[in-house]
């Protein structure tokens, strides 16, 4: 996408101005987003983002700039402006580029640049709408969305890296609204992955619509949730957001390097119940959070974070590795050329165990079964996190009693990891978007159903 001579000239200029490291990140991002309401197309938006990000490092200091232009003069101007306060005699030499194409382990077929396939996507969303409405006459509305994008990236740096990759993202979802005249409630089903529209061959729009409707109807009948500290069984799939928030962000060198994570000095120590094994894996075929290479040009990898309760590794980008002495993990990610990369999660999950769902529920005198979770957030410095329950049930005397609404779970990472006492075998993954210092990136969360012995439930009862 960028003339190699222009990239070389830019990097040479940065090194001549004394930078310890220089990088050029080029991105072309083609987007097509379809939104439906009921059985109508509300809008379709499409476009192309294109830009070049330039990163210089002087020791631990990062200078970053970007532009929509690709000419050598513009890129050299940005370098000069960034380095104006730091220029010095050259400290290192730039390596000659060693061009490589990233090995593609995902193999997308029905890609956006071939055909946006709008009619086929609209048909899928309309079929999901019909299925949702067929579930009950209380389903008053549906909103569908299908987003596809094709992100081509090219990385050059002063270590001699020159590599290209193309990522194909697809995501489809349906939200159903149930209404009884006085109250409204919602349900949502989302599917996605790192592939093209061929994902539709594995999806059933009827199942999508029925599931969204089922959740909405359950929530419409839900009672206010009891509150206080109690045991909670967290469902599989998106329930894995608990680990993402409670622990994953705290293992990114973005916070570890600043000692702004409660886990920054805990490597080799027991930080979780021994039943907990956790992984961040960028290599899972066609999964939403996967990548072939990270946004610094490094092939991604599988990183075991916690083994039998012990913290064994962090997630490190190039700068984080330099600052902490930890090995890089192919985790340097960014939303777009507008952001400098940072250590970020990919597909993050707790590995399955052997406990049975029935045993988990039976072990609870008074608690909550959170079968579906929403998003959440964390303060890495204190480890305090929260996340929302989007479908939950009150559990009493070992039995699921009735649906509850408006619940949130809060705790700290160190506490909740020790409170996970049972992990089931019904492992599943789910797609999400994660926001942090380098923008919003696709991430997968996952787990089998698990039990937390003690956590604060916020409810409205």
């Amino acid at each position: 996408m960028l003339d190699t001579r222009v990239a070389q000239s830019t990097i040479d200029h940065a090194i001549a101005l004394g930078a310890d490291f220089a990088e050029v990140f080029v991105e072309r991002n083609q987007v097509n987003n379809i939104a439906t309401v009921s059985n109508q197309v509300r809008d379709i938006a499409s476009g192309i983002d294109f830009g070049v990000g330039v990163r210089l490092a002087y020791g631990a200091k990062v200078l970053y700039g970007y532009t929509n232009r690709t000419d050598a003069e513009e890129l050299r101007r940005i370098v000069s402006e960034l380095a104006a306060k730091d220029r010095r005699d050259p400290a290192v030499s730039a390596q000659a580029f060693d061009f490589r194409t990233a090995a593609d382990i995902h193999g997308a077929q029905r890609t956006l640049s071939k055909d946006s396939e709008v009619r086929d996507k609209v048909d899928y969303l309309f079929a999901a709408d019909r299925a949702a409405r067929a579930a009950s006459n209380l389903i008053s509305q549906t909103q569908g969305a299908c987003g596809q994008r094709e992100q081509a990236v090219e990385v050059f740096n002063s270590d001699g890296v020159h590599i290209r990759d193309t990522r194909h993202y697809i995501r489809a979802r349906l939200q159903a609204v149930a209404s009884n005249g006085s109250d409204q409630a919602t349900g949502m089903q989302t599917d996605g992955g790192l592939l093209g529209w061929e994902i539709v061959e594995t999806l059933d729009p009827k199942a999508c619509g029925a599931e969204a409707a089922r959740q909405a109807l359950v929530n419409l009948s839900a009672k206010p949730c009891p509150s206080g500290r109690m045991p909670v069984v967290i469902g599989n799939g998106f329930g894995g957001v608990i680990f993402h928030e409670a622990c994953g962000h705290l293992l990114e060198t973005t916070s570890v390097a600043k000692k702004a994570s409660v886990f920054h000095d805990k490597q080799g120590q027991m930080i979780a119940n021994p039943v907990v094994n956790a992984v961040d894996d960028g290599t899972l075929e066609r999964e939403w959070g996967s990548i072939n290479i990270d946004d610094e040009g490094m092939p991604t990898e599988r990183t075991q974070l916690i083994k039998d309760g012990k913290l064994v590794s962090f997630l490190a980008d190039r700068l984080g590795a330099e600052q902490t002495g930890l090995p890089r993990t192919g985790s340097g990610r960014r939303q777009s050329y507008r952001f400098a990369p940072a250590s970020r999660m990919r597909n993050t999950f707790i590995e399955p165990g052997t406990a049975s769902f029935d045993d988990m529920i039976a072990s609870i005198d008074r608690g909550v079964y959170a079968s579906h979770m929403g998003g959440g957030s964390v303060q890495p410095g204190t480890g305090e996190f929260n996340f929302a329950v989007t479908e939950g049930y009150y559990v009493e005397d070992g039995k699921i009693r009735h649906p509850v609404k408006a619940a949130t779970l809060i705790s700290t990472g160190p506490d909740v990891l020790k409170q996970i006492s049972m992990v089931g075998s019904d492992f599943a993954l789910a797609t999400g978007m994660c926001g942090s210092v380098s923008g919003m990136v696709p991430t997968t969360v996952g787990q089998a159903t698990l039990k937390v012995d003690d956590i604060l439930v916020g409810g409205n009862a």
Binding site: G47, K61, G65, Q141, Q184, T186, K405, A406, I410, N460
Partner: protein, 444 residues
């Protein structure tokens, strides 16, 4: 030679007209400088500039949109063609049109984009000062989040009817969040400040206020679960209204998901509540001379004495509902035509601050999980929270690791009192009289 924005707009709109359609074009240009410090050194120095074009075409009662970051003739032509392709799939909607009129609106640079003499060196010094001064305070472990920013956003709207509008806004900001530790206790707190001129940022205040907030919250603990009277600080009261702003959206009403869609003219809140949208209050950073269809804005009373007076409309929703357009069109270059609030106001009530803070109540100064924990369709919310238990205006103990839960639309009918003084939120985008909510569920 690089074409001007105006020349490119003319090219785009000529192509739209030549196809027998109407259309409008939004162009957004942004430039910014941001700086962050760590361990006494500048950690990040970011200089950015970007421009994006977004076109909306309306042909045969169908609307289509497309955008491009490239501004060469081929890219702009392709963008228009793609918008027409997208339009062929959209629903037939006679309400979709392009606002009529040929007015030309331009904002005043002197008030919205003032120059000041602050140099880049002075901005770097400000970033370093924030981190250095806080790190030097007792028990501060580090200042993981800090920085200063100077950003200018230019926005152009061009329509095939001849209407044009142009604004240029500058916002300077600074923030610091410090991590304070004492034994096994820690607290991460901070503040932010936003102004039009960099030299109006009071970095010493940010340092002092951040430190005081950390100290005040350090020994906070949960409190027993029950229902309390609650006062949110101005920042989080504005955040709550922002999460549930769809309650005023005519587009959500048209989509059948706004729970207040059939309530215009009906009571939705206590008598004391009056809510306005005041885009022309130039004291705020949410000032908007025009909406994203290029139409001049005006003050809109949304809730008057507890009665919902109107939803907010763009030209399409106003046509659909056959009501006046309130000029709340909202459209980014990359997105479809929607509606949005400009600068929300909760009008002053008749209770002075002493009466507002009488007896026992919980003052909430932090909410976690704002968007994930709130559902605008149902009104239900449940958030992590921190604050202070108070009595007669005095903070009696810090409180953290609690949750606050309820239904926002229901809470509007459980307002105990509204203060007689308005305050800006830190972003200066909402002007709020403080509300005392009764009987709010708190878990600890």
């Amino acid at each position: 030679m690089v074409a001007t924005v105006e020349a490119n707009a003319e090219r785009v709109l000529d192509k739209v007209l030549a196809a027998g359609a109407l259309g409008d074009l939004v162009v957004q240009e942004e430039s910014s400088l941001s700086l962050k410090a760590h361990d006494g050194e500048l950690e990040e120095h970011k200089v950015t500039s970007t421009r994006v074009y977004g076109v909306r075409v309306v042909k045969d009662d169908r609307a289509g949109i497309a955008y491009s970051e490239a501004a060469d003739p081929a890219a702009l032509d392709s963008m228009v063609e793609q918008a027409f392709v997208n339009a062929t799939f959209s629903r037939v909607d006679p309400a979709e049109s392009v606002a009529t009129g040929d007015t030309i609106l331009v904002t005043d640079d002197a008030s919205l984009c003032p120059d000041d003499p602050t140099t880049v060196e002075a901005k770097i010094a400000a970033a370093l000062y924030l981190e250095r001064e806080l790190t030097a305070r007792d028990k501060v472990r580090n200042v993981p989040y800090n920085g200063v920013q100077d950003a200018t956003v230019e926005r152009h709207v061009f329509a095939t009817t001849g209407r044009t509008a142009h604004s240029r806004d500058r916002v300077c900001s600074a923030f610091a969040y410090a991590l304070l530790s004492d034994g096994d206790k820690d607290a991460l707190e901070g503040v932010q400040s936003h102004t039009r001129r960099f030299d109006e940022i009071d970095t010493a205040w940010i340092v002092d206020e951040t430190y005081q907030r950390c100290v005040a919250m350090l020994h906070g603990e949960a409190l027993s679960s029950k229902h309390y009277d609650v006062l949110f600080d101005v920042e989080h009261q504005a955040d709550l209204f922002a999460v549930f702003h769809d309650m005023f959206s005519a587009k959500s009403a048209r989509d059948g998901i706004n729970p207040l869609r059939d309530k215009v003219g009906e009571r939705i809140a206590v008598d004391a509540l009056t809510v306005r949208d005041a885009p022309l209050n130039a004291d705020g950073l949410g000032y908007a001379l025009f909406d994203d269809e290029g139409l001049p804005t005006t003050t809109t009373t949304l809730v008057d004495g507890g009665v919902l007076r109107t939803l907010v409309h763009n030209s399409a929703t106003a046509t659909h509902f056959d009501v006046p357009n309130t000029r709340h069109a909202n459209r980014s270059p990359r997105g479809p035509l929607g509606v949005g609030l400009h600068q929300l106001e909760v009008a002053p009530g008749n209770v002075d601050e002493t009466a507002l803070t009488s007896g026992e109540y919980l003052e909430i100064v932090d909410l976690a999980g704002l968007h994930s924990g709130g559902n605008p369709v149902s009104g239900d919310f449940s958030y992590g929270a921190a604050g202070f238990l108070c009595r007669d205006g005095e903070r009696t103990r810090p409180v953290r690791n609690i949750t606050v839960a309820g239904n926002f639309y229901g809470m509007l009918n459980k307002i105990d009192a509204i203060g007689d003084t308005q305050h800006w939120n830190p972003e200066r985008s909402a002007l709020m009289a403080r509300i005392r909510f009764a009987d709010v569920a708190i878990s600890g």
